[in-house]
Subunit: 387 residues, 2 copies
């Protein structure tokens, strides 16, 4: 009785708290949304009695499209996908009379640059790789390191695989780089890197490895909200991300990791991969530091033709490439989607490699420059490393 009283008292106080309580507005029972139906169609609901038009947008509808929701009893708008959704991670938002909002019934959101969307996972296939499952879990840490090259502390995300803490073993390291507008959080949130690693390592499909996700915007200490200088909103276009400075300074990150973690401190124990700008960085870093990375992954990458400026990283590209491939990496893996705006540049880069006789593997997917592809590429790439 009294326990119940305590719980209800606490609840009522929290509900009365002005800031953290939508219930304080006096709405009745909240709607459940999204609902993954037994046939894997998905139903979305929003209670908005005063709205005139409510729509839903997201990759669960169709790329680039918006669907109208219908109003039912009590001002609850709903929409059910016409077909079952294949197992995947999906994202969506509502549009209420032209204003994009997130689903108030779903606390799960991801940020892409300055945009928040809700997400959900349809399990039973690929989506299972992105879900948290009952498998041994690695540790995710947010680590600050001093950057001598830039003169301030910078933040990175580091994943150590399950068992790392209880072992004396040395582990290989994947350096995993984000794209423009991203930061050290992007592979964790949008990329589901922790879940992908946990799940594929548990299945034996990937070797236990450390994964280092640095921040590739060298004008930044850390992701928005995590750096000094106030709560600056995310900016897509930051200075100095593609001037060679990041690539040239990259060994300061490798040195930090080799010093503080039980790593295999040689080429055979290191992989580097990234998406878009991060693929560009991976291409450049692995070429410039030709004896450091034995596995290279270019996911929807910008290529040599996007190089600008006179950084030593960007000069004599063919000579540096020849040096890199004189003792070739065990794997040079290029992945891109058929409709990616960088597709043609990647064809030309592959042609250059072919012409010079440099071996690479190629993975082509549907669709374009989207996170759904990058999650797939990561899931494929890590199965090929360190075996």
């Amino acid at each position: 009785m009294k326990l119940k009283f305590f719980i209800l008292s606490t609840l009522s106080v929290i509900l009365a708290s002005p800031c953290f309580s939508q219930e304080a507005l006096g709405s009745s029972a909240p709607v459940l949304s999204p609902i993954i139906n037994p046939d894997k169609t998905v139903t979305f609901k929003l209670k908005a009695p005063k709205a005139v038009k409510v729509q839903i947008m997201g990759d669960c509808i169709a790329d680039g499209q918006v669907a109208d929701m219908s109003e039912g009893d009590g001002g609850v708008w709903s929409y059910t996908t016409p077909k079952s959704l294949p197992s995947e991670l999906y994202s969506y938002s509502f549009i209420v009379d032209g204003l994009k909002i997130n689903d108030p019934s779903n606390v799960f959101q991801v940020r892409d640059v300055a945009n928040l969307s809700n997400f959900f996972i349809v399990t039973g296939g690929r989506g299972d790789v992105y879900a948290v499952n009952d498998v041994p879990h690695g540790t995710l840490s947010k680590v600050w390191y001093d950057s001598p090259s830039f003169g301030f502390s910078r933040r990175m995300s580091i994943y150590t695989p399950a068992g790392y803490e209880n072992s004396k073993k040395r582990y290989p390291v994947l350096y995993l780089l984000h794209g423009m507008g991203g930061d050290e959080e992007a592979w964790i949130t949008l990329g589901r890197a922790v879940q992908i690693l946990d799940n594929l390592i548990a299945k034996g499909d990937a070797e236990p490895m450390i994964v280092v996700m640095p921040n590739g915007n060298v004008s930044q200490q850390a992701a928005p909200g995590e750096a000094s200088g106030g709560l600056a909103q995310p900016d897509f276009n930051l200075p100095k991300t593609m001037d060679g400075g990041y690539e040239a300074s990259f060994l300061e990150i490798v040195d930090y990791v080799d010093k503080h973690y039980r790593t295999i401190k040689s080429k055979r124990g290191r992989a580097i991969a990234g998406l878009s700008m991060g693929g560009f960085h991976s291409m450049n870093i692995s070429r410039y530091y030709h004896d450091k990375f034995d596995y290279v992954g270019l996911f929807s990458a910008a290529t040599t033709e996007h190089v600008r400026g006179d950084s030593p990283v960007y000069t004599d590209i063919e000579g540096l490439l020849a040096r890199q491939f004189s003792t070739p990496p065990t794997l040079y893996w290029i992945a891109i989607g058929k409709t990616d705006f960088l597709y043609d540049a990647n064809v030309r880069y592959r042609n250059l490699l072919k012409q010079k006789g440099y071996e690479y593997e190629y993975f082509e997917s549907e669709d374009g420059h989207i996170w759904r592809n990058w999650r797939v590429y990561l899931s494929e790439f890590i199965t090929k490393l360190f075996r």
Copy 2:
């Protein structure tokens, strides 16, 4: 030129991506919100041309109140606080025709149970303690440990102070517990624990310490979204949180931490504190394991009169309290706000302590059962530890 082309191309692709882009709706330049004006008033803006009524709620307005926003040019609604806001962390939401939404111009949100709100910080005073500043930063890790008591893996947040990685020193440990509806994320997000620790340690106001933030809901592996079993929405009222099981099992957490971190493995090197239910847990754990914790912090805590059930943790309370105070903790610190619904219970608990002659320190604040108070209590409490 071509770099610019690449950036713009990438940008246009991302803007065209259906899921992660409010800009894809074709709105013009986004409004800036919130704006902290030079006089420390704060202006909020929302572009919602079709809305009939737009309001703002939050502790930046006044507890429990809602203010009307006014429509200006281009359907941009705005509101400026009538007075300067004292330096603090504030939260808010908008209400558009009765529908609570978050500010689309501000990606910074915190989750309290199932409710998301935007937040911002007014600096120049107490808010500085909650902001990220140019000080040495500790590492925050999300760690899974096997729980023999409950038979599954569980997740906790662990903060190690700046310098930990480069030292061989042993550090004291604060165990910091959340309240009902919270989890291992609550002190990190709503509580700003990392910033408070970083800032006060850097100023020399707190000793460098490890801070362990476990999940006190023993029916849960981890915070919503971080546990297996799908993306279950947060639930305020979880089973088995106040039946003594968590308290009785607590040494499995201490053992894990003592085994994996360079800790001072004795009473003088351990503190335990928590808010609300976490204060109740701290009271019980420190009493039941009387020789383990030298510093105890009860923040807006439920007390002995909320004990129910026949757990050994909950029996012979006066006897166990006598044993605890026979070699008293160096600090037994009780903090509560004047309007907290647990205020009277805390008066009665303090009277019990007084009557028995058990020494404690008392800190009373304005207001009630709210995070603003718990951030203050943490900021005060840690200055008193391990010195």
